[in-house]
Symmetry: C2
Subunit: 240 residues, 2 copies
């Protein structure tokens, strides 16, 4: 299933418009991360034209990491490509990717940033890829509801067709985000304690993002995550 995840949304109206757009194209699951005005929200309900009555209950999370932990694949929508090594999808390309992963039983998250600030580079480094909606460079700003509408439309368009590609992962199911994330966190902790890797404290956040980008791009299976843990353990033991 596809979950639409709004990270720190500010205006209830935009949450409502997103919900309405989702139901227009039958994408039913909405997650909110730390909505500014709490939840439920009267303005959201007024704007949704009844969408909340026909979709599963909205789930609210305190952090973006919590909101994506049980998913297998996540894409962040951004107005511009970032200076990061990440797969960048068009809306249509993303819909194709989502469709093949869904056929394979994966749960997918589409993450939309706050109205003004969007998603930080740190947020984005926790995602598997980026979607960039190709707008007019001289007039690029879509609002939150409109971005959700375009993505819901593209996903709905692709749902009716056969996927172009399916993933073969043998006997091992794909890793959930939290499994891959736990490995990355463990790796970071080990690197911090080694004192040989993060030599400059100023560069540490960037280096961590780069590491995260390497492993999240990899589309790991659960077995592969276990293998990586094993490699890490072996290396530590050797060092010790």
């Amino acid at each position: 299933m596809v979950k639409i995840i709004l990270n720190q949304p500010q205006m209830g109206e935009n949450i409502g418009a997103a919900a309405r757009a989702m139901m227009n194209f039958n994408i039913g699951e909405l997650r909110l991360v730390a909505p500014r005005d709490g939840w439920p929200n009267e303005k959201a309900i007024a704007m949704a034209a009844g969408a909340f009555d026909v979709m599963p209950p909205v789930q609210v999370f305190q952090t973006l990491d919590d909101a994506i932990a049980d998913l297998h694949f996540t894409l962040a929508t951004t107005a511009r490509p970032r200076d990061m090594v990440k797969s960048v999808y068009t809306p249509s390309g993303a819909a194709t990717e989502i469709h093949s992963r869904q056929s394979n039983g994966q749960d997918i998250g589409l993450i939309f940033g706050a109205e003004r600030s969007g998603l930080s580079n740190e947020d984005i480094s926790h995602m598997n890829g980026i979607i960039t909606i190709p707008t007019n460079p001289d007039f690029p700003a879509l609002n939150l509801g409109q971005s959700v509408l375009l993505m819901a439309y593209e996903i709905s368009k692709h749902m009716s067709s056969s996927p172009n590609q399916t993933l073969h992962t043998g006997e091992s199911p794909p890793a959930k985000i939290e499994e891959t994330s736990k490995f990355i966190t463990r790796l970071e902790t080990e690197l911090e304690s080694s004192e040989q890797f993060f030599r400059s404290p100023e560069l540490m956040p960037t280096m961590k993002r780069n590491i995260r980008n390497i492993f999240l791009r990899d589309d790991l299976t659960q077995q592969e995550v276990r293998t990586l843990h094993g490699i890490l353990s072996a290396l530590i033991t050797k060092r010790g």
Copy 2:
């Protein structure tokens, strides 16, 4: 060029949202038919986020026929297919069609109905075809700004590619709507005066719509319209 034509729009906010969506995808020409609150409209300007400053001046018409007279091809967006013999396009199919016609130098109109009432069957019978956005049957209603956004997005997506098809019309350019329309009106007048055709006054509007649908579907060249006039003249003279 593509002209976005809003027929009898009610709320200024929706005109503004449409303009903003148009500029997001670089579709620059907006026509209004009898806007309820006149033009210019403060609420439209507030909602447009500056779009009116960077697009050509909005053109205002008193009737839908006036607004499409100088165009070559028109498509009406409707929430549902009508009981009429008309080509029905998906948004993507319409964008492909528009793209090939544009490459051939044609001017195209996309017509959007009023917020509540949409377009009448009479309005639609004056168009060459219909676009139906495939929404969730249990939650179908898109607002005006969102419909314009999706169409502008699809058109912009297709603009960057080569057309799949170009029209070959030999030496004769494609007829403008007003040229085809004049022939249809003349034909109707002749049929009315014959007293053999429109036997039931109640059925006359439907029969006229059916006739209009036949000729508008035909994609006539200017030469062909002249030929049809010639045929009609010949038939009348023979009758007389």
